[in-house]
Amino acid sequence: MTLTRSSAGSTTRRSRGGSRQSRAGVAFVAGYVVLLIAFGILPTGYAVYFAFTDAGGTFSGFSNFITTAQDFRFMDAVGHVALYLLFWLVSLVVFVVGLSLLLHRISSGTVSKSLRFFYYIPGALAGAASVLVWLFMLDPSVSPVSSLLGTLGFHTFGEVIAPGNLALLFTIIAFWTGAGGWIVVMYGALNNIPKDVMEAARIDGANAWQTAWRVQIPMLRKWIVYMVILAFAAGAQLFVEPQLLSLASVGVAGRDYSLNQLTYDFAFQMNNINGAAAVSVELLVVSVSVAGVFVARSGFFDAD
C-alpha cells in the first residue's frame, strides 16, 4: 500500500510537473512561432508571391528572374559576393578554429577569460557601428594605424577602398565583427570534449597538433558546419558593409556591389519590387541549398 501510494503520488507529481513543463515549453515556443510566422514565413511567402507576379499582381512566371539576371550589374554582383564568401568562409573556419584551439590550450584561467572577453567585444557592437569604426581605421588621415597603412602603400582613403580591395576589406570587417562570438562558441564546444578522450590521446603519445587534427577538430565538425551554414547565409546577404562604405566614399565603393544592394536598388531606385523579390528568392534558394548540402554531407542531425 505504502509503495502503491508512494508510486501514485510520485506519478501525480510528475504529471503535474510535466504539465507545467509542457505549458512553459509551449509558451516559449509559441512566442517564437508567432514571430517566425509574422516576420519570417509571411514575408518570405509575400516575397515569393512578388517574385512570380508583375506590378499588377498577374502571374508572370520566371520573367522577373530573367529580367534581373539580364541586368548588367547582376553577374558582377554575383562575382563580388562569391569572392567575398570564399574569403570570409575560409578565414572564418581557419582562424576561428585555430584561435579556439589556442585559447583552449592556454591553461591560465585569467588569460583565457580575458582573451574570450576581448574576442567577444567587437561582436557586441552593432553591425553598422562596427563598420563605422572601420571607416576610421581605413582612412590613413585619421587612422590609429596610419603608419601601417602607409607601409602597405596606402596614403589616401581612395587608395584603400580601391575596387580590387573591397572583398578583402569586407572580410576583415566581417571577421572582426563576427568571429569573436564564434570563438567563444567553439571554446565551449572544445570544453565539452570528454576529458578521458583527451587523456587517451595524450597517453597514446599524440602531440598538440595531432590531438587538434585527429581528435578535437573531428569532434568540432558539427559546430563548424553550423558556423559555415549561418556564415554563408549572412555572407550571401552582404549589405551593410558595402552600403556604408559606399556612402562614406560617396559612391566609389559602389551602390550595387552586392546582390542585396542590387535588390535594394531594384526596389527603391528603379521601382521594381517584383525584380527585387526575385533576387531575394534566389538568395534564399542558394542559402537553403548550400545548408542542405552541408547538413547532408556532415551528418549534422545524426545521433552520436
Binding site: S19, S141, T156, A162, L247, G251, V252, R255, N271
Partner: protein, 453 residues
C-alpha cells in the same frame, strides 16, 4: 483516480493552447494584411490633379538639418498653423531615402509628407512616375510667383510642361579664389581655361603644394565637364538621354585636368574628405566650384578666415561663343499629391522658396527666387566674410549650360564608381572617358531610358 486521469486533461489543455496559438497566428496574419491594405476616399480634380478630401490637422514637413531653420522660422511667424516638422537626411549624397519611403507609403496608402525638401535636383524624375509630386503651375502657385525664379532654375522640376517642384537654391559654378594669396603670388584670376591651365602649371613649379582645383569629388564632372559643354548627360525627353563623352568638348577638359592632376596642382581627394581638410584646405589658391562652396566649404568646413575668399566668373575656352558654367545640386521642394492640407502646404511652399525672411536673410545657398537672391547677395556683402562682392554668382545664375539634365540615374554615382577609382590608380581622365560613356549608357538603359549618341 489521479493515476487514471492525467492523460485526458493535458490533451484538452493542449487543444485549448493550440486554439489560442492558431488564434494568435490568425490575428497576426490579419494585422499584417490590414497593415498592407488601405482605403482610397473620393478625390476631387482640382489644380491639375486628383486631390484627396481636405482635412484639418498638422501640416507634415520633411526637412534636412540645414532647412530645419526655415521650417522653425515659418512656425514662429505662423503660430496658428499646426506643423509636424520631421528631420531627415534630405537625400544627401543621393541616399534615396525619400524615394524609398514614398515607395513604401504608396503601398501602405498613408504616411506621405505634405511638403518635403530634397538636396537632390533630380527628384522630379521619379516623383512624377511614383505619383507623389503634385503639379504646381496648374493653379497652386501663381504664374507671377513662378516668373520670379531665375531663368532655367525650375527646369529640373519640369516634366512634360508641368512643374512638379520649386527650386530652393541655385548651384551655379564660379571660380572661387584666395584673394590675398593670389595677390601675394603675383597672379590674377584666369578668365579662360587656357589661362587657368597655364596658371596651374606655374603654381606647380613656383609654389608646389598649392592648388588651383580639386577633381576628387563625385560631382567633379558637374564642375569641369559641364562647364566645358561635354554632352554626357543631355536629357532629351522624359525617358530619353543623349550621351557622348568623347567629343572634343569633353576631351579638351579631360586633358586639362590630366595635366594639372599630374603636376599635383589639382587635388584628387574630395573637399569633404578628412585628407583634404587636414592637408590641403590651407593650400587652396583657386577652386572652381558651385555657389554653396563659399559658405559650406570655405567658411564652415575649411574655416578659412574672413576677407580671403572671393568669387570670379568660371573660365571659358578661348573663342567660345556662349558663356557656360556647370551646376552642382541645388535643393528642391515638393508638394505631395496625397496631401490633405493643400492650402497650408502651398502657403508654406511659397513662403519657404520666396520670402526674404528665409531665402533673402537666412538661406545658406544662393536663392533660386531672383528677388530673394538680390537681398541674399546684399546680405553676403554686408556680412564681411568675402573678400569681394559675389556678383559673379548672379552672372553665373543664368549661364548654366542647359544641355546637362537631371535624369533618374545618378551621374555622380556613375563617375564615383567608374572614373574616380581609375584616377586614384593614376589613369588619365581622357583614357577613362570611353568607360564613363559605357557606364552611363548601361545605367540609363537599366533605368528605362532610350539612349542616343
Amino acid at each position: 483516480m489521479t493515476v487514471n486521469k492525467p492523460s485526458s486533461s493535458p490533451k484538452r489543455a493542449l487543444g485549448k493552447k493550440r486554439s489560442a496559438l492558431l488564434t494568435g497566428c490568425a490575428a497576426t496574419v490579419l494585422l499584417t494584411v490590414s497593415a498592407c491594405g488601405g482605403g482610397t476616399a473620393a478625390t476631387t480634380d482640382k489644380d491639375g490633379f486628383a486631390q484627396a478630401p481636405q482635412k484639418d490637422g498638422a501640416l507634415t514637413v520633411w526637412v534636412d538639418a540645414t532647412r530645419m531653420d526655415a521650417a522653425k522660422l515659418y512656425q514662429r511667424q505662423h503660430p496658428d498653423v499646426k506643423m509636424h516638422i520631421v528631420s531627415y537626411d534630405g537625400d544627401a549624397n543621393g541616399s534615396n531615402y525619400l524615394q524609398t519611403k514614398v515607395q513604401l507609403f504608396n503601398r501602405t496608402h498613408k504616411g506621405w509628407p505634405d511638403v518635403v525638401f530634397s538636396s537632390q535636383n533630380n527628384e522630379a524624375s521619379w516623383a512624377v512616375d511614383a505619383g507623389f509630386a503634385a503639379p504646381l503651375n496648374k493653379g497652386l502657385i501663381p504664374d507671377a510667383t513662378l516668373g520670379g525664379f531665375a531663368k532655367g532654375a525650375n527646369d529640373v522640376c519640369t516634366v512634360n510642361g508641368k512643374l512638379y517642384c520649386l527650386r530652393n537654391d541655385l548651384s551655379q559654378a564660379v571660380l572661387w579664389y584666395n584673394a590675398p594669396l593670389l595677390k601675394q603670388f603675383g597672379y590674377t584670376a584666369p578668365t579662360t581655361w587656357e589661362e587657368y591651365q597655364q596658371l596651374g602649371e606655374k603654381v606647380a613649379s613656383e609654389h608646389p603644394g598649392y592648388l588651383v582645383g580639386d577633381a576628387g569629388d563625385s560631382f567633379a564632372p558637374e564642375i569641369y565637364l559641364w562647364a566645358s559643354k561635354c554632352g554626357a548627360n543631355h536629357i532629351t525627353g522624359p525617358k530619353a538621354v543623349s550621351v557622348n563623352t568623347t567629343s572634343e568638348a569633353c576631351t579638351k577638359m579631360a586633358k586639362l585636368m590630366d595635366v594639372l592632376i599630374k603636376n599635383k596642382s589639382m587635388s584628387i581627394t574630395g573637399v569633404f574628405s578628412t585628407d583634404f581638410g587636414k592637408n590641403k584646405a590651407k593650400k587652396v589658391l583657386l577652386m572652381p566650384g558651385p555657389a554653396w562652396f563659399g559658405g559650406a566649404v570655405f567658411r564652415d568646413t575649411f574655416k578659412t578666415p574672413a576677407k580671403q575668399i572671393a568669387a570670379a566668373p568660371i573660365p571659358q575656352w578661348q573663342g567660345d561663343s556662349a558663356t557656360s558654367t556647370g551646376n552642382v545640386g541645388g535643393g528642391t521642394w515638393l508638394l505631395s499629391q496625397h496631401s490633405t492640407h493643400i492650402k497650408a502646404a502651398t502657403d508654406f511652399l511659397k513662403w519657404v522658396t520666396t520670402d526674404n525672411a528665409y531665402q533673402g536673410g537666412k538661406a545658406p545657398g544662393y536663392p533660386a527666387y531672383a528677388p530673394a537672391a538680390e537681398v541674399w547677395l546684399k546680405g553676403q556683402d554686408t556680412s564681411g566674410y568675402f573678400a569681394s562682392d559675389l556678383s559673379a554668382l548672379k552672372t553665373a545664375s543664368s549661364q548654366v549650360w542647359s544641355e546637362w539634365g537631371s535624369g533618374q540615374f545618378s551621374q555622380e554615382a556613375i563617375w564615383a564608381a567608374t572614373v574616380k577609382p581609375g584616377i586614384t590608380q593614376g589613369k588619365s581622365i581622357e583614357s577613362l572617358l570611353p568607360a564613363w560613356q559605357d557606364s552611363i549608357v548601361k545605367y540609363a538603359k537599366s533605368n528605362g531610358y532610350k539612349v542616343s549618341p
